[in-house]
Symmetry: C2
Subunit: 638 residues, 2 copies
């Protein structure tokens, strides 16, 4: 009998429970007067699941294994699908249009399994007179999520800080929980959200579950990190030339991860400008860029039909290259770290690799399950965009394997498809922010738009973005990071956000080839499947112009591999674009600036376009997008 994914059953007595920001939820649970029951249940249930034997498909190991390694079957569906080269791939979908929907079902499965373990725990441990309370808490619980793009709040006063961080609960080795039946007693227990730890090295697990370290230099699926030597998941703890006993439990270097999350160029402070974490800025842009279709939003996958329709040159409007998966890929990199070898012989920058940065093992780190939440927000502000373009339409009816549901109509057990989870509420959860569509834009602005607003206010309306197009498999599937620079690149120091002239980075998050057996995909892979991303560059351009007499920078890039070496052979297309708000009408008398706009191009034809032209006739030619709605947040200052 297959395992049927339904989400946590809906309790008709209560409104639909919400998935809460995990810091908010933790503070709620641990505040004075709180009963701490949900926290206890989550910790106890996850501990049980993590300790289940490997032959139990509802064990943490087997659930995490669906995402990639060890490529075994799940729920009767053969795992380890082979790509055209015969290399195994996971069930999961990256660089494809079902990326958000596949992960939506996946996280719901996890939530459901935890809920069921909670009920078991209550049955076995909670005295009769407390059972109803505990069961009610379980029913109201939903898996919390980690809002990686909002500034962290660590205090019970809910004060907003000014940096991005891993969740409180993820950085604590131990956690205090209740002891059922012993009122007032709290026990310190190992925190199952801190890491996933096994009894032995993951490379020595019984077959077919052993996690292997792969060393392949050929084109094809490949990585060479020693995950087989790990007994625990790690963040930044895999470092070449360190003793293997250190790798076994390389630790959760969350201080390093926090630094990375706030990736920002070194020069931002120089002029008294506050920094803008790229991650927050990208998230804000993704959620506020209008007119993206599903194919553009959902995946890094580059739609080759676009290339035919629009000339491949720097004038091409790149706004469509902003996407969910690109943001998500960077988070994987910044949480786990991908650089196994020290960059530069005598350069002692921070380095280290971990599970989150490697597709085949990413889901073993318990933080994995907390960071897939953004799609529902985007859907709420883009309700018409659902597999609504030629490319993504084709994937709409793809089976989301190996996830089963019961089809009421046919009375059969079938695989999920994207349409089945278009409305996440059908999986019996919601988010606070998506409950009221009329307030969501204000909330998005409050959560992610405050810092940019503050920093950008002196720069007028000139905005700049970088578009990046690359082959995800350029290194045969091995991970790499594309670092973008304005101005000269230091030949010895090009690794990260602290490097001179650094603007931002793109991570390929690769470790497996695309999950597809079709001829077309095989062909794409041989040609090099293309992926796209976008980086905000407003601050960097303004800084560069200030330093260089108003000159607009030419972007440069370095592709860095997990050995910290530059991959000079890998070609990436990087272009800088100016995006301009051009108001053609002020129908609501909102005091819009109608009088002029600016554009630029790289062929010398940019300029200052103003309404008081002196010539009789002026002809403008430009790539323009039309805004469908204008939202007024507040009155412009005088």
């Amino acid at each position: 009998m297959p395992y049927l994914i339904t989400g946590i059953p809906k309790d008709p007595k209560h409104p639909l429970p919400i998935r809460k920001d995990i810091d908010d939820w933790y503070l709620e649970q641990t505040s004075a007067g709180s009963n701490r029951i949900q926290l206890t249940l989550f910790v106890e249930a996850l501990t049980v699941i993590q300790n289940r034997p490997l032959n139990d498909q509802l064990s943490y190991f087997r659930l995490a294994g669906i995402h990639g390694a060890p490529w075994t079957e799940w729920d009767g569906v053969p795992g380890g699908q082979k790509d055209s080269k015969g290399n195994p791939t996971g069930f999961c979908v990256h660089n494809n249009y079902t990326f958000p929907t596949w992960h939506r079902v996946y996280v719901t499965l996890y939530e459901q399994v935890i809920y069921e373990a909670m009920l078991d725990f209550i049955k076995q441990n909670v005295p009769q007179n407390g059972k109803a309370d505990w069961e009610n808490e379980a029913k109201q619980w939903r898996l919390p999520y980690w809002d990686f793009a909002r500034f962290a709040r660590h205090g019970h006063d809910n004060t907003q800080g000014d940096e991005l961080r891993l969740p409180i609960l993820v950085t604590m080795p131990m956690v205090k929980v209740l002891v059922p039946g012993q009122p007032g007693k709290q026990l310190s227990k190992p925190n199952p959200l801190y890491r996933f730890q096994m009894q032995t090295l993951m490379g020595t697990l019984e077959r077919p579950y052993a996690i292997t370290s792969q060393k392949t230099e050929e084109h094809g699926w490949s990585f060479d990190l020693p995950f087989d030597k790990c007994q625990s998941t790690t963040k930044y703890g895999l470092l070449e030339n360190y003793n293997a006993d250190v790798w076994a439990d390389g630790g959760q270097n969350w201080l390093r991860a926090n630094l990375a999350l706030n990736e920002h160029p070194w020069y931002q402070n120089l002029d008294g400008w506050a920094s803008v974490p790229t991650l927050q800025d990208m998230t804000f842009r993704l959620l506020t860029t209008g007119g993206l279709n599903w194919g553009e939003f959902s995946s890094t996958r580059y739609d080759d039909k676009k290339e035919e329709a629009q000339p491949k040159n720097n004038e091409q409007a790149p706004k469509n290259w902003m996407n969910l998966e690109a943001i998500h890929n960077n988070v994987h990199n910044w949480v786990g770290g991908f650089m196994f070898s020290r960059p530069g012989r005598h350069d002692l920058k921070l380095w280290g690799a971990g599970h989150m940065s490697s597709v085949p093992v990413a889901a073993f780190d318990p933080i994995f399950w907390l960071h897939h939440w953004l799609t529902a927000i985007w859907q709420t502000v883009n309700s018409g965009s659902w597999f609504n373009d030629d490319k993504s339409k084709v994937s709409k009816d793809d089976d989301l394997r190996p996830f089963h549901r019961f089809c009421e109509k046919t009375r059969k057990v079938v695989f999920f498809r994207s349409d089945d989870v278009k409305d996440w509420r059908s999986l019996n959860y919601d988010y606070a922010i998506t409950k009221d569509a009329s307030r969501i834009r204000k909330e998005i602005s409050d959560l992610y738009g405050q810092r940019t607003k503050e920093v950008y206010k002196d720069f007028g309306e000139e905005d700049y973005i970088l578009s990046i197009r690359y082959s995800r498999y350029a290194l045969g599937g091995k991970p790499f990071q594309i670092n973008i620079f304005f101005g000269d690149v230091d030949g010895k120091d090009f690794y990260d956000a602290r490097s001179q002239n650094f603007v931002g980075s793109v991570f390929n998050f690769s470790g497996s080839l695309e999950d597809s057996n079709c001829d077309k995909c095989a062909q794409q892979e041989q040609e090099g499947v293309l992926s796209v991303s976008q980086l905000p560059a407003r601050l960097a351009v303004h800084y560069y112009k200030k330093q260089n007499k108003g000159e607009v920078p030419t972007p440069r890039y370095v592709v860095v591999n997990s050995q910290g070496k530059a991959e000079a052979e890998v070609k990436v297309e990087v272009a800088l674009h100016k995006t301009e708000v051009f108001h053609s009408v002020d129908s609501e008398s909102w005091d819009l600036r109608m009088e002029h706009t600016h554009c630029f191009s790289t062929h010398g034809m940019g300029g200052h376009y103003h309404y008081d032209t002196t010539a009789e006739v002026v002809e403008y030619e430009a790539w323009l997008n039309t805004a469908k709605v204008i939202y007024r947040i507040d009155q412009p200052g005088q």
Copy 2:
């Protein structure tokens, strides 16, 4: 009955055992074919000690408490001595001439207590037929030490790396040990060297053992770090504005510590020069600078009689300001971290504080006991220097409280004095490097001098050092770091080795006032007890000169407090000195460069002093030191 410190009893059947480098020892214990018994015994014994109740003075907590907090009695000796202001101080001795000898007895006590716990463990756990083997291993065991100044070797092939690191064993949360009586079986256990963890927050321990957080802004003993909120020791895990539950077990951010240990200026790579970790360079200089007396070597304490004898100006030869305690203070800082608040509002540099950087709680971190070893090496190459100057002589007969020994002559139990441990071998241990005095200089050069030799070879014989004189209690006992710069100091970025123009740093390692009740000391404290240090500056000066047409830099400094703020009021004396080798004779025909030397001064009278002078008479005036011995390492290149 007092606890008598003797060291581990000598086994007449065997030569005197040595304390081994802990990485070497760990690799030995875990190599193929090794029996792993000593590792098991060390882990099991230390675990037992860490779990002893607080009223047991041989518990880890009480042993660590001798060093500072919670200022209780030990071995019947009243703790919490009061300074002239009535603030408690620990038994331990800093900024004084018994600093090395007090810590020598302290570490021996620890070693002895562990040894005794080993014997207990064997008695209770090892089957009869194995007891002799295990007991023999215990008898041969000595507490390993952490050579923080040598490049780490993490592999069984003993290959030398090119960076300084925390020991392997200190960075592993779990460690594999034997199970006595079950041959071949190994068990993964929590590693007591990774951290010291208690059952509750240290601030909630029963009185008088509760560890408090002190907030004092007045002149006097003061610190304001939340060690009361810690359940475990931490490295860099105390961060302001983080949730207190994160502080409880803030983690061992050894990746951050490793970065700090290799503190080196950002520009070192720019010209293809390898980096020279300040720590290694300082250690090498301390061990190879001839002619230091005990008072100069042993402590940061500034000998005010020197000031009378020599004019206080930049010509004063500063070589005597290099000392053991200054090096040791920096290690405390780099291992634990002292910056509790984030430096700069939007500056996301790495920060965080931990136990090792704070005198009152430093000994609670298990790494504390591994880093006191340098004195024996220095004694071996400076065998005549033992309390051999006017100042240190006075402290020679100070009681090393609260450490007791049995005096054979008087048949009484007395406190240790420095003379009792002048020969560390009388405490029944030795070091490999100190066993053969004839080879020790070669070994010092191999361990600590290779990198400088390689890097400095292009710079001729011009050497530069910085001398620093400061008041340890300038912030009323609160910790601070003095950062030295050549050239401009960035007003917003002056925190650490990554800051522009950074040369090196000095840490005051303060948290308690000087352990003394004499009027003179009270007066000194009120005047501000002075401490001195020295930093190597050869690479920095050469870089600066190259960038600035040969100009010699003027050193600048910033005093940074644990809030990441500059303390503009704190005055520090910093001077740059050129030290020159001036060969007056080449009696052995070693091909010494006799023909010329260079000097400089800050009053414009430096120059090029050459033997082919054209004037009839030339008079040179200089501060010179005479070399007693010249060691020839190898033939100079052509």
